[in-house]
């Protein structure tokens, strides 16, 4: 299997090579930071005219993960849209595509800092979700546990025989897991950044995206 399995607060969870998190016992698929409509938002604000294909690419990969796992519940862990207007600016084709993915399953939109309000899609819109024993929220809350979050777009690097490689990663310790960004137009924050250093316990792992995902001790500064 091209996956990495771990437990958090007693729940058995599976890191997929795409950066999605799969919870088999609940048939729950969780993805974070899709940033749909990013190129549209940037163009709208007088910025660069980036290739307008990232929404298509992100949905294509999400579609594949959903077909693979057939979840009962899908949780989008915030920053699903690059801003609220971007959600309304999706093409009809993309809107239908999302609606099709949502059909026949429970779909939860968690609010993120980029999309802090309701959007015109069905499903549930929540600030956070509690599916015992786990809490799903966009930004990790220090001092809590059993928490699944996103926001930081973590990535990490390893060196071997003089060869350095960097990949997006999950960060995992006994309190929480932080998901990598799923969206196509997303960068990353190195795990040795202060914010992540302070948040994660000393024994935290970084699970680098690959087939299968590879765990290493979380690189720190």
């Amino acid at each position: 299997m091209n996956t990495y399995t771990f437990t958090l607060a007693g729940a058995k969870l599976v890191a997929l090579p795409s950066g999605a998190l799969w919870w088999p016992d609940e048939a729950l698929l969780c993805v974070s930071d899709l940033h749909l409509g990013k190129s549209e938002r940037i163009a709208r604000n007088g910025g660069a005219l980036l290739p307008p294909y990232e929404t298509r690419d992100t949905l294509f990969r999400l579609d594949a993960d959903i077909r693979e796992t057939t979840p009962r519940t899908v949780v989008c862990l915030g920053d699903s849209f690059d801003d609220l207007d971007a959600a309304n600016a999706l093409t009809e084709e993309q809107t239908l595509w999302i609606t099709r993915l949502m059909a026949g399953r429970r779909w939860i939109w968690i609010e993120g800092n980029h999309d802090p309000g309701p959007i015109d899609f069905g499903g549930m819109h929540l600030a956070e979700l509690h599916t015992p024993p786990l809490y799903f929220r966009h930004i990790a809350r220090p001092g809590t546990s059993a928490e699944v979050s996103g926001h930081f777009h973590p990535k990490a690097s390893v060196s071997r025989r003089g060869h350095r490689l960097t990949r997006p990663c999950f960060l995992l310790d006994s309190d929480r897991v932080i998901l990598p960004a799923y969206g196509t137009y997303t960068g990353g924050l190195h795990s040795d950044h202060e914010a992540l250093n302070n948040l994660m316990r000393a024994e935290a792992l970084a699970i680098l995206l690959a087939k299968p995902p590879h765990p290493i001790p979380m690189p720190r500064s």
């Binding site: 660069a48 025989r161 690959a210 590879h214």
Partner: protein, 801 residues
């Protein structure tokens, strides 16, 4: 026809100078539309360029801008201003001269726009910025002449293409404007004249007396040059002796890293505490200015420097040029040598110092070429379209425009004279909407066509973004280096982000001539502390690298054919003999391929002698083929003469990798997804305005906000493979970084004759490659294998298995 007025004649006599014939000629022919002066350094070239302006302004009243002077270097503009002030004040001429560069304070820039001086000294980038303002027609009204200094240095770069596009705009604003180019000795004056001309008009060439041949030698050292490396530490005592024997010495290096290391070692050996400075592009501006000022005052006995001092800044009393490392290019060597001795008709004096044994061979070859007056030139292609896209955006920032007229203006630029209308439309469309195959939304309208047919920016906010991104100089991402705890203090300089990323706390490296210890990276500033140790742990950060010219490579290969090498120092001759004994020496009409194990990996070394860029491409093509055949390549490094590939598996029979068909087939396939293309894409996309040069605030707010341009490249490849940016990237890569032309040259020269030599250890000629920097990793199956290895090892170390 103009003559030198009595006032000027008196001034020349009072100085005890006689006017050079080319200075008079330039004055007499001042009304020609375009004129190119070719003259060696130190014969009053710049004064020749300004003389018609000074005479004109001295004899007729003129309000507003009269002459625009453009130099490739900011420092040069400031230097010229100082030099011009002498004749102007001594003859009491009513002339105002000012410079305008990226360093000029905002308040003065504003005033210059409202009330331009008679003579404005500037750079191509600052000119482009001026042209992006709506009041450009007013700023430049009355402009009579434009003088381009060191035009040879601009003509071969995108900066030069941008400059000529800017001139096409200026010419439209000021139809009577004349153009003068000032150039050092070049191999092909006609190509520079074509570059300077306003097509289809011609540009005449004025050739000054080239002066005597330079006095150029190899530096004699007691110690032998090392087998590898670029530090030339062995030559320190000899160089120091030369510095003592001369008034002022320029010590040129090919890379900043080498300059840093050399300066450090020179300083350690400098028992008499001679005043010696360092000058290169990574140093903070304040540091550079300090060195420049000390140099002008004549306080320094030597400056260790790089290409940042390549151009004609008048440093006065330089009487010796030392070139450390092989010069790579004969033309550049001749121009550097020209820096010594600014007295007309005195030979320039220069010493070559090879950094290692291979460079001994290269230096001798270069010396022979200089003596034979055999300058190297590479052919120039059509003007790059990423620069054209930026020009269209700059034009749009200045106000509404008519596409047809802009197209006609652009066609007056030599490099773009054959630009097709459809090719122009592609660029205009890219600027207007991004040029995507997908039908764009309204938001993707950066430019809109008005009912009257003029194009204009949809959102005026876009002008600021366009102005911020002006320029074609490829900034690698650099980070400022500061001493820890001195947040407000002056930065020590800058290092490349990739270099910073490879540092771990405690690592020591050189910057600005001192050793510092890496502490941390805080808000995109590299925090360091001073280190008292004698030697830096990590000695290198990458700097500019040039490819050895075709002509120099051919000379080296010809030299290898000799039975013995009386012209080479004994140590180098012996090294070549040893190579001949344990393996073979490369030949022009055969391709030598060596394989050997080293350091737990299998190596393959191919001696193509095609220059650094083509050898790099060869590395990419070969590793791609090896990857496809399951040979697990891990990475490679390229120099001007060879490519060294390493991997997990032994290559028993390399010959099939090198068939012309395999390489050519591989090219198309490979162009798609490799690192060089991605790097080229990044550069072209930044120039064309797809990616912002520096995203203000984006970095401070956290790195996750920005994402790699590689993602854009991959996305375009996947969903819009015919997009203009991909076409530009390909054109660009093929002639620049990819340089496939030289691989073709190598293939036809060697005609399938491959000599494979399998050995049990590294060969004399291959050894230096192991120490080269700039290794390219291969993202393939071997990487996943390593990731698995590394994961296990790390988890085991952490007790987590």
């Amino acid at each position: 026809m103009r003559r030198l007025p009595p006032l000027f004649q008196d001034w020349f006599s009072s100085k005890g100078w006689s006017v050079h014939p080319h200075q008079i000629a330039l004055l007499e022919r001042a009304d020609e539309a375009a004129l190119l002066l070719i003259a060696p350094t130190g014969c009053g070239k710049t004064l020749a360029g300004f003389l018609p302006t000074l005479v004109d302004l001295a004899t007729k009243s003129h309000s507003g801008l009269h002459t625009l002077y453009i130099s490739p270097l900011k420092a040069l503009a400031a230097d010229i201003r100082r030099n011009l002030s002498t004749p102007i004040s001594e003859m009491s001429l009513p002339i105002r001269v000012e410079d305008r560069t990226g360093d000029t304070p905002q308040s003065r820039k504003k005033r210059q726009r409202a009330d331009p001086p008679h003579i404005l000294l500037t750079t191509p980038e600052s000119l482009a910025l001026l042209l992006s303002y709506e009041d450009a027609p007013r700023i430049f009204s009355g402009l009579k002449r434009v003088v381009i200094d060191e035009i040879h240095a601009l003509a071969e770069s995108k900066r030069g293409d941008q400059l000529m596009l800017a001139l096409s705009r200026l010419q439209a604003l000021c139809p009577g404007m004349t153009r003068v180019g000032l150039s050092a000795t070049v191999e092909s004056p006609t190509s520079i004249a074509r570059y300077l001309a306003c097509a289809p008009k011609q540009c005449s060439i004025l050739q000054a007396d080239p002066g005597p041949d330079p006095d150029i030698q190899m530096l004699e050292t007691e110690e032998e040059p090392p087998w590898s490396g670029g530090g030339a530490k062995y030559a320190i005592p000899a160089v120091l002796r030369q510095i003592k024997q001369h008034n002022t010495t320029l010590v040129f290096h090919n890379t900043r890293a080498q300059a840093e290391i050399f300066f450090h070692n020179l300083w350690l050996a400098n028992d008499e505490a001679l005043p010696i400075g360092i000058h290169h592009g990574s140093l903070a501006r304040e540091q550079r200015e300090k060195v420049e000022a000390a140099m002008v005052r004549g306080d320094l006995r030597a400056i260790v420097c790089t290409g940042s001092l390549d151009l004609g800044i008048d440093w006065g009393d330089v009487d010796l040029v030392v070139q450390i490392g092989a010069p790579k290019n004969v033309k550049r060597l001749v121009q550097r040598i020209g820096r010594a001795n600014h007295r007309y008709n005195a030979p320039s004096k220069a010493l070559l110092v090879p950094a290692n044994r291979f460079e001994v061979v290269e230096c001798i070859a270069a010396l022979e070429a200089v003596r034979a007056h055999d300058l190297d030139g590479e052919p120039q292609g059509p003007g790059p379209r990423d620069v054209l896209c930026q020009h269209i955006l700059i034009r749009a920032a200045a106000g509404p425009f008519e596409a047809e007229r802009l197209y006609e203006e652009i066609k007056t630029v030599g490099a773009y004279s054959s630009l097709s209308r459809s090719s122009f439309e592609d660029c205009l469309n890219f600027c207007a909407t991004g040029g995507y195959a997908l039908r764009s939304y309204d938001q993707w309208q950066r430019l809109q066509k008005r009912p009257d047919g003029l194009w204009q920016l949809r959102d005026p906010r876009a002008t600021q973004r366009i102005r911020m991104n002006i320029g074609t100089i490829q900034d690698t991402d650099t980070l400022k280096v500061r001493l820890k705890g001195s947040r407000s203090g002056k930065p020590l300089g800058e290092i490349e982000e990739s270099f910073a990323a490879a540092l771990t706390p405690g690592d020591t490296f050189l910057i600005g001539g001192q050793i510092v210890r890496y502490d941390s990276l805080r808000e995109m500033v590299v925090q360091v502390t001073r280190d008292r140790g004698p030697k830096p742990k990590i000695a290198t950060f990458t700097g500019t690298k040039f490819a050895t010219s075709t002509q120099l490579s051919a000379r080296i290969l010809a030299m290898f054919r000799q039975e013995d090498w009386p012209q080479l120092p004994q140590h180098t001759a012996e090294w070549l003999k040893l190579q001949r004994k344990v393996s073979k020496l490369p030949e022009a009409n055969r391709l030598l391929v060596e394989t050997f194990p080293h350091d737990n990996r299998q190596h393959l070394c191919v001696y193509g002698f095609s220059g650094r860029n083509a050898q790099q491409t060869l590395g990419l093509l070969l590793t791609q083929r090896m990857e496809a055949e399951g040979l697990n390549p891990l990475g490679f490094v390229a120099t001007d003469y060879a490519t060294l590939i390493w991997g997990l598996d032994l290559i028993a029979n390399p010959a099939p990798l090198f068939t012309a068909k395999n390489l050519r087939d591989g090219l198309e396939n490979w162009l798609a997804g490799n690192a060089v293309m991605k790097r080229t894409f990044k550069g072209a996309a930044t120039i064309a305005g797809l990616i912002d040069r520096n995203m203000p605030g984006a970095r401070k707010s956290g790195r996750q906000a920005t994402f790699s341009s590689d993602i854009l490249y991959d996305t375009l490849r996947k969903y819009d493979p015919d997009h203009l940016m991909l076409k530009i990237t390909r054109e660009e890569a093929l002639r620049g970084l990819v340089d496939f032309g030289r691989i073709e040259e190598m293939l036809s020269r060697t005609a399938g004759q491959i000599d494979h030599v399998a050995l049990d250890r590294v060969t004399p000629l291959a050894a230096p490659l192991l120490l080269e920097i700039g290794k390219v990793p291969i993202k393939g199956a071997a990487e996943d294998r390593l990731l698995a290895e590394e994961t296990k090892a790390l988890m085991r170390e952490a007790g987590l298995t």
